[in-house]
Structures are given as C-alpha cells and as structure tokens.
Symmetry: C2
C-alpha cells in the first residue's frame, strides 16, 4: 500500500509538504498542493493510521462496550452515541461484552492498548475493570450503570422511582399479588428496580414477600424459568413487573404456554419500549427509557471531558416514562 514517500516522490516534493497539503495546513503553495492531491489520488494513498496515531499520541476513535448487542435498549444507546461522536469527527467502535466480566475486561484491555480517545461502558460490575480504567488516564463514561468505584462521568436512569411508579400503577389497576423479575443480583439497575418495586408495594400497602421475586440474568431464557416458577406456585401472583424487554419475551412466552392472558389473568409491565410491544394483543404497558438520549448525553460528556480533562465527574440522571397500554388492564 502506497505510503507518504511514494506520494512525495510522484508529486516531486518532500514528505513534509505532502503531510501539510493533505492536512490542509494554510502555508502551502496552491500549485504544489494540487500536485500532491493528484498524486495521492492516483496512488489511492491512505495515511497509515497506526503511524499517525503513534506520532500524534491520540486517536479519533471512541469505544462503546455494551452488555448485549441483541438488546434494542443498548442498540438505541449505540445510535445516540454514534450520532454525537460522528458529528464531532470521531469514529465509534462497538464491542459486545455479553454481560461477562471476562469479556468486558478483555475489550477494555484492547481499547486501552489501541489508545482509543475514550471509552463508554455499561459496566457488568467487574471491580477489576474499574480499577484498570482508574489506573490509566483514558477518560471513561459509564452508561446505564455506574462503575463500582463510581469515580467517572455517569449517565443513569432514575430506576428506583420508575419501578415504584410501575408497581403503584399495577396496584391502582387492582392487582394484589404483584411479582417481580428484577434481573441479576449485584447489578445496580436490577437491584434498584427491585427496591423501587418494594417501595411501590409499601406505598400501596400491599404485602411484600420474597416468594414473589425471582432473580435471573437479563435474558429470555432466564426469565422463562423464573416466570414459570413464579406463576406455578400457590398462590400465584396476579401481576408481574419485568426488568427489561428481552426478559419480557421469555415471560410472555411462558404466559402463553400456561394459557394465561396478559392483563386479564396476569398484569404484565416491562421496562423498555421495544418496537414490537404495540403489536401484542393486548399491547404491553412499559416503562419507556430514553435510550437514544442516554447515549447521546454520554457521548457529549465524554467529548467534554476530552476537551477539558480536569474537573470533578458528573452524574446525569434521566427520567423514564410509564406508557400505559392493555397488558395492565384486567
């Protein structure tokens, strides 16, 4: 592949001039500049990224490490990040940690090695990763969940109030034994949604019981098992609050298997407003998270941090909206 010397030779100038011309520096003769551009075009010259990054000690690449590429919530975040990053001249690379601490660790390692300008991360809760990032100077923004040590810019959702509102809504609709599938223990979003759910039950003066809660991974598979175990006990719950849209798929499948109709037999309320939620019969009542905005805001925070490295980390908390549909109507 052609390098800067090839271009210089063809244009009959020095490599310094090629570099200046190609980077649009003011101080270069228009005629030479034209010759350089023509030569570069002819050779299909593309500057060597690694060499440039090495010399400049910086890259125009951001890394976004999310826990599930197949979850629309995270892909919406990715779009938000990408639009803002792109507008500022940064490329975005996406990495999928699968909610596994080892994979997350590995991708953070790669990002640090490649000296990306900054990292956006929805942390699995791996303390190693947090420590790793803290020891290095690469700016980090946590999205959706905070880093264990909490010493970074962070964009969160007000999970606890949102879950409380959701539980209260179920209570108002006349459901009396409300179950909850909050997601995995130890993940803050899950723990907060569980706490909010309990807040709601308390406020509605409904009995709270551990037998109404099942922890599982944020996956359809785990939710299927949890839902089956929850709904086949005696007495069964008459409603269920589900922590995300992927789990909601598993829950709804289980309801269908058990011959239970959402709303009439069992109230169903899930976090995340996926595109298919309105297609169901009855349509799904959801807690809609501003995923795109969370991504955009996180990217902006990172760009700000790159522009002015000093200063204390900030935490932005966005609000979710309860969108009432048919699955919470008896």
């Amino acid at each position: 592949m052609a390098n800067i010397s090839d271009v210089a030779a063809l244009a009959g100038v020095s490599t310094a001039t090629v570099s200046r011309a190609l980077n649009g520096k003011a101080t270069v003769d228009p005629e030479l500049s034209a010759r350089v551009l023509a030569a570069a075009e002819e050779l299909g010259y593309r500057p060597n990224g690694p060499a440039r990054n090495l010399r400049k000690q910086e890259t125009a690449v951001l890394a976004l490490i999310i826990s599930d590429v197949e979850n629309p919530f995270f892909t919406a975040i990715a779009r938000g990040v990408e639009d803002v990053a792109h507008a500022a001249g940064y490329s975005l690379v996406l990495c999928n940690s699968d909610d596994e601490q080892a994979k997350e660790r590995e991708y953070v390692d790669v990002a640090l090695q490649e000296r990306v300008a900054g990292v956006l991360l929805s942390p699995t809760g791996n303390a190693d990763t947090a420590e790793l990032l803290e020891r290095h100077t690469t700016p980090v923004v946590a999205v959706d969940r905070p880093l264990p040590n909490g010493r970074s810019d962070t964009v969160l959702l007000n999970n606890r109030p949102a879950a409380k509102e959701a539980a209260l809504h179920l209570a108002e609709r006349g459901y009396r034994r409300i179950g909850c599938l909050p997601g995995p223990s130890g993940v803050l979003t899950a723990d907060e949604r569980l706490a909010g759910y309990r807040d709601g039950l308390r406020a509605a003066k409904l009995p709270s019981s551990t037998s109404l809660v099942r922890r599982s991974r944020f996956k359809a598979e785990g939710a299927r098992d949890s839902a089956r175990s929850l709904l086949t006990q005696e007495p069964p719950p008459d409603a269920v609050l589900v922590a995300n849209n992927v789990m909601a798929v598993g829950v709804l499948e289980t309801l269908a298997e058990l011959g239970l109709r959402p709303g009439r037999d069992v109230g169903v309320l899930a976090f995340d407003d996926a595109p298919w939620t309105t297609l169901l019969d009855p349509p799904l009542t959801v807690v809609s998270q501003p995923a795109y905005d969370m991504g955009a805001m996180a990217a902006q925070l990172l760009l700000d941090r790159l522009a002015s490295p000093g200063g204390a980390p900030t935490t932005q908390t966005l609000s979710a909206d309860l969108v009432v549909r048919g699955s919470t109507t008896r």
Copy 2:
C-alpha cells in the same frame, strides 16, 4: 502511560528483553522474565497498540460494517462473526452504515486507514466502496449481499427460492391476491426476493401485477406507508409477503390501524425470525434465515483468506427455512 523503556528500567534489563519476555519468546532467562512481568504489573504497563501495529505491519482487528444495528438479523450475524473471530484471537469492531452509501464509504475508509486485518461488509451497493476495496489489498468478505463487482468471498442466502417458497405457501393457503414489500430497488436481496415472489405467483398460476408491489427502505416507517397504500387500494390484496422483520413491524401496525386481522383478513409472511414473532396473535409465519451461521461462515472465510491470500474467491449460499405459524391461516 508507562512505556516499554519504563518497564525495562524498573526491571533492570533492555527493552528488547522486555519485549521478548512479554511476548513469551522461549529464549529468555526465567528470572529476568519474572522481573519483567513484575515490573510490567507494577506499572500497569500495556503495550502501545499503534506502535506495535506500525512495527509489525499488521493488526489483530476485524471490522464488520452492517447496515442496521437495530435489526436483529444483523446483530445475529455480528454474534456469529464475533464468536469465530474471538476464538481465533481477533477483536471485532462493529460499524453501522445505516444503509447509507456515504457512511459505508467513510467506515471502509477508516478501516483501511487503521489497517485492520480484514473487513466484513453487508454492502449498500455503493460501487465506490467496491472499487476502493479492490484497489487495496485488505481482504474483504461480503455478507448477505454481494459487492457490486463481485470479486470477493461472499456469504449469501438463497433469497429467490426462499421467496418463491413463501409465495407458494400463501397460494396453497388459499390467498389469491398476494402483495409484496420486497425492500429498496437496487439492493440485491430485495430484488431477488421480488423475483422469487414472482416465480411463486407464476408457479401457482396467480396473476402478477405491479400494483401489488411497493418498494421502500428496509425500515418500519417506509413499510408503514407502503402497506397503507397497498392495502387501501381497490381491490386490496388478501396477503402480503414482507422482506424483513423491521418492515414487518410497520406492516403489522398498519393492519391493526386498518382493523385487519393477520391470517383471517390478510395473510402475512415475513423474512427473519425475530424473538417476538411467536408472541403475536396469531404468531407470525416467517422465512427463518440462519443469520448466526452466516456470520460465523463469513468470519471463517475471512480467516482462511488471511491464512492463505491466494486463490479464487468463493461464494457460499445458505438456505432459509419456512416456519409456518398462524398468520398464514385464514
């Protein structure tokens, strides 16, 4: 950030020895090696990627450029690619072209500049991109759609027979005016699905008419408009074949707005088996594409090409499965 000289100084050896120790070369004294490892650990040393890539003239990174991160079909491909790449020691970076030729062009440019080891691409049909890639030596594999010039390894689906089978299924179920939303004109997958649909109508001796076809982007929005225009004409179609799962969302929304029930009023059959298709009432009949396998196969093809650069490009074609559910039962 600590560099190799810092480690060398702390361990009391030369940079060469540090490099050899850290890269597990055999010829290094165990005691020195231990000292190096300890020093590297203490300093939180992480080799500078750009410097290493520059020196070695190679990277262990693959780029996957897909046209829609929010489409489960493409994220499933991404998982297939990632698993295979990861097992072979490569990192995967994901880029989202949004089905826009300019963005695709830009990401290919970035990939070439960064000297990634190889590129996987579901092309938008941009001839520029194809030419760009051809002029450089970076290996490329096309997934789901071929490159315009067709001179690369390629993994495809047998779209035309699959669409024909789908159309025939609708005919067998007694639908007589079968419409089609094949996706954008000029995109091969869309054009092939349209051709297969016409094959099916011909085989079933049903009338084919351009008034039964609406072209649009592979998006819910476009499909909504197309479906409305298709279904409100006189006489309306009694079934519709939809080219992907994202469009299917738009079509199903439109049916609901028009008060039409899938299956009974209008037969609905869509490409892609998204997780939510079984939750609908009636559940959606689909053409299930082996997306994960397509990704895994494409990654393998790329790895093979990296291992042995010579040889003619191959094209692998996978088969889709018709999964019959309720939306094609009257």
